[in-house]
Symmetry: D2
Subunit: 308 residues, 4 copies
């Protein structure tokens, strides 16, 4: 039987403890490398949205509390600063609905699409399909592609809001952090002090309106520890190696991601630095994860077939 | 038999005529909508690189002339300002080799990878494979994915260098401008005054070192004319609609591309504006085409299955 | 008696000839180094705004033609590619009024100040004062500080719109290009092919709404030629050396301007490169010239007292 | 006699307590509005640099600890979230020397000036003059212009590193935060939880090499409380009102600063919004404070003579 780490009751969520990744909050659980755990998470709205209540209504009723809360800190036994925390994503259980919202003052086109009205759209989730009811009347089926939007460790000494991504992970909104893939994070604190939340049933590249199909969910995962220094989160799928970097402007996020990929090719796969750079110019893939959070996120990828 | 538009002899290439898209150079050919033509193009080096001569050597010998030359202007009969020029890409014939280069002072990581040495790597092209000989000794096969790197029309009154992309097309370095797809460009001049060149046998997202596997090639295409106003280049594949926008910083290119996609959904597919925006947040794809030219280019895409 | 170079009649302005800096338009005058000339210029609106007609009204009446026209090209005898064109600004005669405008879709806060209405405000100019009548009823006197907003030479082979700044000068909107100062420009064409226009009676840093107190004017100036290579426009006042660079994002304009200043200190004043860099960190001044044109402009300055 | 708030002993500085502004560290002092206090501060190096030891040497000896430490938190009696904390800067006592450094990987031109060597330059400070000994042999006298580089309050729930600026103040490196001026900060926490440090004897606009003439110092100041909502730090000198905003890219910092200035003119001085915007386009001044910290800082200013 798989051990389950429960999320806090909604009313007990607090910005300091639950809306930051930080080295000071007491761990909610201690986990051994190799152990499989199930973690319950809240959605990015902090649980205030439902088919009966839009985010706007919750805001008007004064119900909005801790935003983008994570479940954690989870203390990983044996993790020491300078290690690599490897998180094997094994599965995500989705609920029966999720909700996307337009929140004025937020989103990539906020300045260009004047007079946007706040709104929340609840989508039902059935099997591997999200049903999106368009204003023009048709119901559009989008295949689910669930992933963990916010996932990371405690920084060295800051308390970083969970809305922000960074070298510690956080709100990367990167669809490649999905079941079947492994996420690698630098460890800054003893025990790593890991947290996760903000699962998306599906999300487009860029997450342009600022929200995906946001869900509370259950995430199955297993930790292991690696040695060696990494500067930014890395992802490995069966087919690709990937680096996930966040900065502004967006080209700096891309430059960081490509630089990390060059360094990975050099350190682990025997490439000469400039040759790796020139090869990526022919064979890399890149995804804009999001352009709506405090820093923007790019994923750079290389197929493993080129690394044999 | 297909009509062929020949490229100029290398020695007769001139920056003004061949390295700008402009309304003043006399057309090299006049083509009717519906007619299939084959256009010969030079590589981005202006033809000075070969298996026997690197770009660096050509530069030292004073041979580098018109960079990124296009074949054109091609006058499209009947095209008037305000029309849409539709370019159906039908095929690309690749040569037996192409060349990638590191050119100091150029490329996305130029500032970060200090002391980069200039170099040119010639890759053989055989069937549908590019052979890249890595410095570590192995030969890596990359599937060819040929496309036209620079393709566009004359701006309204400027003469824009062919190294730059813009609303008129130009050096977008967008791998989706490939055989099987249709490119739509706004027409600013009578006859459109179309030009193309800079074919790539394959390119990674971002074109990070500044060059792809650069080739001289033969491009088969067919023009048609559409009515209605578009602000930026658009691409249609059998499966997707795409907008291709260029700006700095990179997030502005992405915002433009998403905005154009919203407008396309509204004008042609019956979506409400804010609903289109919210839907793209769930279902759009985005590709970083390049982050090395005077403006950076992003392609935003939506599957046609959502537009039925 | 000073020789006068007349501006074209308004009705004869054409985008190609007058709204680009380019190597193809026939010179309107030939001037010898050392000769003082007076050049008449149009305002940035191309002469369509008056106390009786706003820009919006002119647009509705279809009167808006060539925007930001320059008077030129002026052929400077003896100027050769690789030279430095030195422009000594000797005086500006202002008219009795100038006009600022809000033009929707333009300006630094366009996306943030939704629902902006187009408007034109005519200000009277009397002696050394601009009278700005605020909506709250008071008339505010701003000291005039006239300068040339758009001033430059022809690029090597492009035809660059006069709304854009660049290494060739152009629409820098830099208040330091004022009487008493000397502007240095790189020469790309035989004869330099110089043009100027877009005089401002006064302008704030950033030119945030997109327009200054725009005037048609008469500019007195004298050319001389220098040798040596400069990459970007430079300005010298009696007290300071300055570099004027344009890019996006704005930090790149600043980095370019500081880099040019470092190079100037090294080449002309005996500084070691890293020492110049460290010294600028203590003693440089910087002005945001504008953040509204196709590229943004920063002026970096160093007092001559540190260069004795 | 003026009350003095001592800085911690160097050996007791800790990153968490001293290199963040945060709501959790216990106050080091409680101060009443109206009371004049003197605060001792460490330099940005955390006290490890001296005429005998460069930053590089300190780093090699493992002595570098808490960077950019602030003295605080200072609890201001009566301050409540939503108030404005007004800090009247009354004087700064400088020591006999300060030090600027080049630190590889840091600074605005880091990517462009390859092969920069780390170095520290100690400058003597005598009366109102900093003596900078240039590598070319001359000693250059720069007038002192001391100000507080890092000054701010605790954010709502994050612990923000003191190297970063933001809406809470922090590492703005803004030379206008000088004796004779008043700084206004939004209050997020009961008691405001104020901290300051990182005094500069003098600094150029942009702080381009990443450091100014860094000093430990004594700052005399007096708090008062205001009501009303401000979104970002504001400064008032006898002659000007100023807004100080931080973002990336740099144009976003400028846009924020101008927007805040518009809002200030509207709320306090009776201007119509669009009129304020158009007026700033004629009369605003802007300073690039720094382009080297995690966010970049711009100060936008308007002379009070226009606000009578």
């Amino acid at each position: 039987m798989v051990r389950r780490i429960r999320r806090k009751e909604r009313g007990r969520l607090a910005a300091w403890d639950d809306s930051t990744l930080n080295p000071y909050t007491a761990p909610v659980a201690r986990v051994r490398p190799g152990e499989v755990v199930e973690v319950e998470t809240w959605d990015a709205y902090g649980g205030v949205v439902s088919p009966e209540q839009s985010f706007q209504e919750a805001a008007e009723r004064g119900l909005v509390g801790a935003l983008n809360p994570v479940t954690g800190p989870i203390y990983v036994e044996g993790a020491e600063p300078g290690d690599i925390l490897v998180v094997e994503l094994m599965g995500i259980d989705l609920p029966a609905w999720g909700a996307a919202s337009i929140i004025p003052g937020f989103g990539a086109l906020e300045g260009w699409l004047n007079l946007m009205q706040p709104r929340t759209k609840v989508c039902t989730i059935e099997g591997s399909v999200v049903r999106y009811e368009a204003d023009h009347g048709k119901i559009i089926e989008i295949p689910t592609d669930p992933f963990v939007g916010t996932i990371g460790v405690s920084p060295a000494y800051e308390a970083v809001q969970t809305l922000a991504p960074g070298s510690h992970g956080g709100n990367m909104d990167c669809p490649d952090i999905r079941p079947g893939n492994r996420l690698m994070l630098p460890v800054y604190q003893r025990g790593a002090l890991f947290g996760l939340g903000d699962v998306h049933a599906v999300q487009g590249d860029g997450e342009v309106c600022g929200t995906a199909v946001e869900v509370g969910a259950v995430v199955r995962l297993r930790f292991s520890l690696g040695h060696g220094k990494i500067g930014w989160p890395r992802v490995e799928s069966p087919d690709e190696i990937m680096t996930v970097c966040s900065a502004r402007p967006l080209e700096d996020a891309a430059r960081l991601a490509y630089r990390e990929l060059v360094q990975w090719m050099v350190s682990d796969y025997g490439w000469a630095r400039d040759d790796a750079y020139m090869f990526l110019s022919q064979a890399a893939k890149a995804r804009i994860a999001q352009i709506v959070d405090p820093l923007y996120t790019v994923v750079a990828k290389l197929s493993k077939r080129y690394l044999a």
